[in-house]
Amino acid sequence: TQLLEQSPQFLSIQEGENLTVYCNSSSVFSSLQWYRQEPGEGPVLLVTVVTGGEVKKLKRLTFQFGDARKDSSLHITAAQPGDTGLYLCAVRGVDTGRRALTFGSGTRLQVQP
């Protein structure tokens, strides 16, 4: 069982559509990060959410951390082809003292022009 379950696994939409992807867990986290990874590149940090219920906006991207700090969502408004990529959620320090990130398996988004 994955610690972080991301859904959907794949999403193909037309330019201009809205979408939401999810990151769920049965565990409580002190914080959660979202990354975007383009083909042939490493993941790039988009946002860190820390407080339960927190909402952060990054241009057309809206990130929310669940009230219970067990889940998070990423909403994209009016998707553009440049939004294409693998969206990963990640948490740190799952085990005591561990500083490494644990990632979900990602949502692969393709935005068709």
Binding site: L88, R98, L101
Partner: protein
Amino acid sequence: GAGVSQSPRYKVAKRGQDVALRCDPISGHVSLFWYQQALGQGPEFLTYFQNEAQLDKSGLPSDRFFAERPEGSVSTLKIQRTQQEDSAVYLCASSLETESNYGYTFGSGTRLTVV
């Protein structure tokens, strides 16, 4: 440098061959991580250094995998007697990593194909 640099970008190895993958972290970044990313999956943790000390190697899949960071900057991940299941992208990340802020910067990775 401005970012995390990894070399080579691509490596094809014959099964049984030894390989060495290099990571140049951002100057001054204390923490360095190695991850393995299989096709269609998220990255999975391999090992972690704080300066030259390897503090966590719990993710290394077998004793064929070895990592070092002798002077606390450049790191090398070595895989001995490569197997087909070692085929993956190997990502390096570095971080300043204070307790309150943990921004990780990833390199572009090395794609290893074992044939």
